[in-house]
């Protein structure tokens, strides 16, 4: 009996032990499954409950001015745009009771409406009725406005028992231009709203568009703990925000301001539609200033792009507009003629002309076209007088000799290979027009030949070809720098900041760039042409109004009729002046362009649409102020107007030469 009881107890004990063993084994198996097999999954769930990811904004790359231009002055980093932290005002309409929406909308509208720089959405009150958890009410609030609204909201939400997160702010960076409209067309701007998918700014044009790939940054990610009161750390950086690369320009903001002030003044005085000034360093091709009037303010881009007329003011006309260049071609024609002399000598033949040769210019008969005329009739001219008087007939005679001696193709090739006409300069702004040089043998759409018998005579005086201002300026830079072809550029370098170190992404150093710049003109040719250009700037020349007292300068005016309705217009002109100063070691070469100056005749002054009246004085003022800013000493210390105590005709530069040339003219033309 006793043993039977003990045996059944033992059996129960075994079953209990097995049961407990199975229970704990299952528990351990479950622990193993949760902890080991599904460990990663549950860690992720835990992380998502304990941590959250915040996106960290980046700053778009910055444009910097060229402040190293003044010798002896320490360059400082001067940004032309800033990314300033601003805030967008959002609401969660679903969290706001209907009865309170009206009052809340009214209070908020009063706080943000008509605040400078703040963009308020249309249908402000209507946003409160949307079935959404996030509606934007206003953009680009500054910190002070945000704090004011926040202070009011905390109190109001508490007293009306509204969830605090029914109103929130989103931080953003706004592109701000401290100098306003300065360099507006060149810099371009960005739109108010970012791209929704990528969060990147959307450029509207200019350098913002051209260098968008470099200027873009990338958002950062930071992991923060969900702690009701305190976070023990600033969070783990998963991905650091990467700011965009900075672009260092060749433009100096002081020279730009001078050019903008003077072009506005000049255009208004000329009663013109618009105008532009481009300044270039002749030895490196670096653009020092690129001013255009009417101006473009990138901060108010909507006003321009919503108006078809004002939209024209957003493009950089010096780059995008190609036109006939008129008499500004004549110094280049002389250079080609002198190069023809060189070519003839190389072939063992006689040169085609001598700069001092007395060439007959009374008759303007040329094959295939109606008679060419000069503004005044001249019997005989030499090269220097021809440029001083801007004689069309002399230039055409020279080119006639060039083509007769060396052929049309040779002449055309000089226009493209010496000066780059008809080819893109490779300028960094988009929309550059390559211009046009007619091609022998090529037909126009109407079947006529692009190059016909009279074409060279038109080319000689700057007609029948199209060039943009940069091409013309680069051609004059060749004359200014002693015969080297340079490529215009706006960029010095592009730098990416990575972990507090500067990584140069693109170095546009002159030393590298100029290795591919050939010498295209001999020093003798340059010297002769520049000598002729100096006569243009003195008494008897068309550009004496561009003469800067105390300095030597060389340049040429050009006035072109615009083509309107397929015909040359008598009412619409383009007026150009291109020149450089001082003549020896020029500080800059500058082009002034005036679009449609008012056409009228002023007694004692002349035709106001002529470049000598409307464009040349702008060159003088920009050059005078720029040379003063750069600290360039006068190189003609006696070359001041009569009446000035510094004036001394015996010692003033080019005074005797001009007198002698005037005597030659009188001898040839008035006896």
């Amino acid at each position: 009996m006793k043993s039977a009881m003990e045996s059944s107890d033992r059996r129960r004990l075994v079953f209990l032990a097995i049961g407990l063993f199975v229970f704990f084994a299952l528990l351990i198996a479950q622990f193993f499954c949760i902890q080991i097999v599904q460990g990663e999954k549950w860690s992720r769930v835990a992380d998502s409950q304990h941590f959250f990811i915040v996106t960290e904004p980046f700053q778009r790359g910055v444009f910097y001015s060229n402040t190293g231009i003044k010798k002896g002055h320490t360059p400082v980093r001067q940004p032309l745009v800033f990314d300033i932290q601003k805030f967008h005002l959002y609401i969660d309409p679903q969290s706001i009771p209907e009865s309170l929406r009206g009052e809340m909308a009214s209070r908020l509208h009063g706080a943000v409406n008509e605040m400078p720089g703040v963009t308020v959405v249309d249908d402000f009150a209507g946003q409160f009725e949307k079935k959404s958890r996030s509606r934007c009410l206003a953009m680009w609030l500054d910190m002070a406005t945000r704090q004011t609204i926040d202070q009011w909201w905390q109190e109001w939400a508490r007293s009306h028992k509204v969830a605090r997160n029914a109103l929130f702010f989103v931080s953003d960076y706004q592109r701000c231009h401290p100098f306003g409209k300065l360099l507006g067309q060149v810099l371009g701007g960005v739109r108010d709203r970012r791209d929704e998918e990528s969060g990147q700014a959307i450029p509207t044009g200019g350098l913002e568009l051209a260098f968008n790939e470099h200027l873009k940054g990338s958002f950062g990610k930071r992991r923060l703990m969900r702690s009701p009161r305190h976070a023990l750390a600033t969070g783990e950086v998963i991905q650091a925000p990467q700011d965009g690369a900075d672009v260092y320009l060749t433009i100096n903001h002081h020279l730009q301001a001078i050019a903008e002030e003077e072009i506005q003044r000049g255009v208004e005085k000329a009663g013109a539609k618009g105008g532009w000034v481009v300044m270039m360093e002749p030895y490196t091709g670096e653009i020092l200033a690129l001013a255009q009037y009417p101006f473009f303010d990138p901060s108010n881009y909507q006003e321009y792009y919503n108006d078809p007329l004002r939209a024209q003011d957003t493009r950089v006309r010096a780059v995008s507009d190609a036109s006939e260049v008129g008499s500004t071609m004549k110094p280049l024609t002389l250079a080609i003629a002198l190069k023809a002399n060189e070519e003839r000598r190389r072939r063992g033949e006689e040169p085609i002309f001598d700069p001092w040769e007395k060439i007959e210019t009374a008759s303007g008969k040329f094959p295939g076209r109606r008679d060419l005329t000069d503004t005044h009739k001249h019997q005989y001219l030499n090269m220097y007088l021809a440029l001083q008087k801007s004689s069309n007939i002399y230039m055409a005679r020279l080119v006639e000799r060039v083509c007769n001696a060396l052929g049309d193709q040779w002449y055309r090739q000089q226009l493209t290979s010496l000066f780059g006409f008809g080819q893109l300069t490779g300028f960094e702004l988009s929309g550059e027009s390559a211009g046009l040089v007619p091609t022998p043998g090529k037909r126009l759409p109407d079947g006529r030949m692009e190059w016909s018998v009279p074409t060279p005579f038109s080319l000689a005086i700057g007609y029948n070809l199209q060039a943009n201002s940069l091409q013309l300026l680069a051609a004059y830079a060749t004359l200014a720098n002693g015969g080297w072809r340079v490529r215009p550029t706006l960029i010095k370098k592009i730098v990416h900041k990575v972990d507090d170190t500067d990584e140069v992404v693109w170095d546009n150093a002159p030393s590298e760039r100029l290795k591919s710049s050939p010498r295209v003109l001999d020093p003798y040719i340059v010297s002769e042409v520049v000598t002729a250009m100096k006569y243009v700037m003195k008494t008897g020349g068309s550009a004496r109004r561009a003469n800067v007292a105390g300095y030597t300068e060389a340049g040429k005016t050009g006035t072109v009729r615009k083509i309107v309705g397929g015909q040359y217009s008598r009412e619409a002109h383009l007026a150009f002046f291109v020149g450089f100063i001082p003549v020896n070691r020029p500080a800059f070469v500058m082009l002034v362009g005036i679009d449609e100056p008012e056409v009228k005749y002023l007694p004692g002054v002349g035709h106001t649409e002529h470049a000598s009246i409307c464009a040349a004085p702008i060159f003088k003022e920009v050059a005078r102020r720029s040379l003063e800013y750069l600290g360039v000493a006068p190189d003609d210390p006696f070359g001041y107007p009569p009446g000035d105590p510094r004036y001394d005709p015996k010692q003033a530069d080019w005074h005797e030469e001009v007198k002698k040339m005037a005597e030659v003219y009188r001898e040839w033309n008035e006896t």
Partner: protein, 96 residues
Amino acid sequence: MGILIRIFICIFWAGLILYGLVSHQNALTALRLEIPPLAKEVKKIQEDNARLDYEIDRFENPIHLMELQRQPEYSHLKHPLTKEIIILPSGEGAVE
């Protein structure tokens, strides 16, 4: 009795060391708690600096400076000629 005293002394020293450790950890935790608001303040100051730099540049806008230059009280200011500027190499003749 001697053993009891020794045990008591060991426990006392262990307690002291533990107290020191915990106190040190508390101090570290207090410092860590201060980091986020300080970091936020540093960021705020950086943003304020950027905004102030912007305001300064707006005032020092070259157009505005040129307007100031035309006023009689600033008319005596001139840009120096480059030939009037003497450039001293750094490091030579520097006064400590």
